[in-house]
Symmetry: C2
Subunit: 464 residues, 2 copies
């Protein structure tokens, strides 16, 4: 069995913590590990590490690799790159082509598809269910995992099971997101389950269902992987649910009784972090007077509250969100409005992640900018120059290998160097600990676009 994690989403409803530049699955929401890392570790209880892969897009490649590396360096390249987003059906087609061509899988290989940004506990139960589903998949079913509903939720699609037995049953039907009245009916009925977005099936089964119900995708399957990637933008954009599941006669559901959250909005945080005796969830530096049933997600800033009830407060360095509980779905509206106004706070965090590390803009003015730069061990930035600014580099931690013009030298902690305008330069961390540097830029123009690179962002020299 191969476990494939879908990690391409951009998590708008968890703004301002989740942004396009570093979305939800890479955020450490409830402790020290990102949701993606937690998913990988959960799957490692089901399949060997080397059989876990992540499909994502170019923008998130190195984030995914950084997270995989943190679980184990041996799997940092278990990444399948989607050239462009086309929803889950084409993604699954690409995954199967990758498994057949690159991993030399046979048609009877079971593929276990999982989202990257859910919370599921406990691991042992999850592993048991995953193996049950594997057995049913080998017998020809496409197995979905149905979560026993705990409330009349209107935000999820539902699966109605046909048949009584415990374990895997046929699916009687898939139901759209219901209104409240209908959701209450489903809850009472006892045969309706939340669709968790996980699927288990053999390559052979899915190929047959693509052929029967999604010919536009099916006819691309004989291509080589390279051709499919080159042609991927011509795939129809459609979910596996619409393309196959709702039509297939092989759809099955495994009802699972487990702690599950899709962490879909700030309203779901109490499912993930247990509230205290006042019903509050408090993360960060929080002083709360007379405050009840309130979610406070803080970072470094001191947050004090007086007399609040039923609120959501999410504080980040450059953006603050305060919403009434129950209204968190509307964060998407806020994000859309900010996008329209071209606000950078929907895309960037104050810290920008790069393959070689990160930089944080500490302060900027019309003629200067100050950054804190972190270069991971063994990494380097591109060889570059700027026409409009000079830079002062002050090493605060670690040792830097600096190329200036034609000269290369080592610069140590507490030492500094000066990069004049229009001078080629390169920064590298040759050591074993992260390199931390303060960069003070000064000149008539300090925009990020004033840069000429002699090689690309991955440090690979441009071909002449």
């Amino acid at each position: 069995m191969k476990a494939i994690i879908l990690a391409g989403g951009s998590g708008t409803r968890l703004w301002p913590v989740s942004r396009y530049g570093l979305p939800k699955q890479f955020i450490k929401l409830n402790g020290g590990k990102s949701l993606l890392c937690q998913t990988v570790e959960r799957l490692a209880a089901v399949v060997p590490l080397h059989d876990i892969f992540v499909i994502t897009n170019q923008d998130y490649q190195f984030h995914v690799q950084a997270d995989l590396r943190s679980v184990s360096p041996t799997i940092e390249n278990n990444v399948i790159l989607e050239p462009v987003g086309r929803n889950t059906a084409p993604a699954i087609a690409l995954v199967m082509k990758y498994c057949l061509e690159k991993l030399k899988c046979k048609n009877d290989e079971v593929i276990f598809i999982c989202p990257s940004d859910h919370i599921i506990e406990p691991v042992e139960k999850f592993a048991k269910y995953a193996r049950q589903a594997e057995t049913a998949a080998k017998a020809g079913s496409i197995v979905t995992f149905g979560i026993k509903p705990s409330r009349p939720e209107t935000g999820y699609g539902y699966i109605k099971k046909g048949g009584k037995g415990p374990g895997v049953c046929k699916v009687e039907k898939f139901a759209e997101k219901p209104d409240l009245k209908t959701a209450e009916k489903y809850l009472k009925d006892g045969n309706y389950y939340w669709n968790s977005g996980m699927f288990s099936f053999t390559i052979a089964t899915m190929l047959a269902e693509f052929k029967a119900y999604a010919p536009e995708i099916s006819r691309k399957m004989p291509q080589t992987l390279a051709k499919m990637l080159a042609d991927f933008k011509n795939m129809p954009s459609i979910s596996i649910d619409y393309a196959v599941m709702e039509k297939s006669k092989k759809a099955a559901v495994l009802p699972i009784d487990i702690l599950w959250s899709d962490v879909g909005s700030w309203d779901s945080l109490p499912e993930v972090i247990k509230p205290d005796s006042d019903g509050n969830v408090k993360v960060g530096d929080v002083l709360a007077l007379d405050t009840k049933r309130t979610i406070v997600m803080g970072e470094n800033r001191l947050i004090s509250t007086i007399g609040l009830k039923d609120l959501i407060i999410v504080d980040t360095v450059d953006a603050l969100l305060i919403a009434r509980r129950g209204e968190a779905q509307r964060v998407k509206e806020v994000v859309d409005m900010l996008k329209e106004r071209k606000r950078k706070e929907v895309v960037e965090h104050t810290t920008t992640y790069r393959p070689w590390g990160s930089y944080t803009v500490l302060e900027e003015g019309p003629r200067y900018k100050i950054k804190r730069i972190v270069v991971n061990p063994g990494h380097k930035l591109s060889h570059q120059l700027h026409y409009h600014r000079s830079e002062h580099w002050i090493i605060v931690k670690g040792t830097a290998k600096v190329t200036l013009g034609k000269t290369t030298s080592l610069v140590h902690e507490n030492e500094s160097t000066y990069v004049p305008k229009s001078t080629g330069h390169r920064l590298e961390n040759p050591g074993k600990v992260p390199l931390e540097m303060i960069e003070v830029q000064n000149g008539e123009y300090v925009g990020e676009d004033d840069i000429v690179r002699f090689n690309d962002i991955y440090g690979r020299d441009k071909k002449k």
Copy 2:
């Protein structure tokens, strides 16, 4: 007539904007000028500028001078320094001694006492009332200014007038802060007014009332100013209201019908900044969805709100306050708790003001600290050294005169200099525009207390 502004308070209830390091009267709450500046300008419609003085304590001396200078450089030294806070009765005694000894006033001089942190409009009405009060003061009254109440306020003391006439009347009695029921009675009665904290009286009248009712203060009046200052800590700590006003037969009240706010808490902000059609007050970068009757005081950060009603949100760089409207008085509780926990956020802002300018800590770690330093034209820092850190100085704007060891040189924009550990150094701005510099400190210890000064904080060399 001399106008004296009381500017010693520390404005706890407007935390986190107002803090001990830079309290309420120096904050630009509703536009480009501090409340103190607005008070000075208001009084300039009543008396000549040079007859306006400010009494404050040592900690705020240069803040007051900076504000006075911004109104007019000719009055930057119109400052009376209180050695220690002893409430308003001793402060008034000190003011009178200063007027008699330093300003050569006669006993018939009228003294007009005003708080520094109220909003009063329009100026023309204020000036008219001030002159009415001056006339009554010359005739022997101690005139208070009673604000016609606009609501059953429980946070102020009240004055009940005796007598019908418009204009100055005798005071029938002073009433303590009432409960709600009593405040509603006062509002209906028509003869009760809010005590605005302003007083008008001649030196002769007040000296007589001190003699009759506050002998402990009265017996210090014959001293010289120098002796009174040296002995000031032995003054009883008592308000003029308790010491004299509630006992005196010369107390009078001038009812005034004017726009007045003591900006006593965040709940009073709508008196000062007109709410919009949703009842919201929005300062800063605010995106509000479905939000009503909510006060948002932002600075640089983007603030988005969804579905809020009747809230107060005050956002500063290092501290955030969110309270239910009506509960803003409880900010004092929060400040007391933070004081107990020795939190710096009750004392300091992220920008610290000094006589020579200011510094803002941009970032700090165990072995480094980055500051943005602004030195005003013509000012300099103390000649100093540090045992545990070196510093890189990068000039981003203006020209610096730098002394390192025995050498002095000029450092220009985009140039930098390095200050080794344990090396005497001095920074000065010899130019006409503010000097802006980035300082990167690096060493085994970067605390503010690692400093040896060869002269004091005002740049005056220490006597050997």
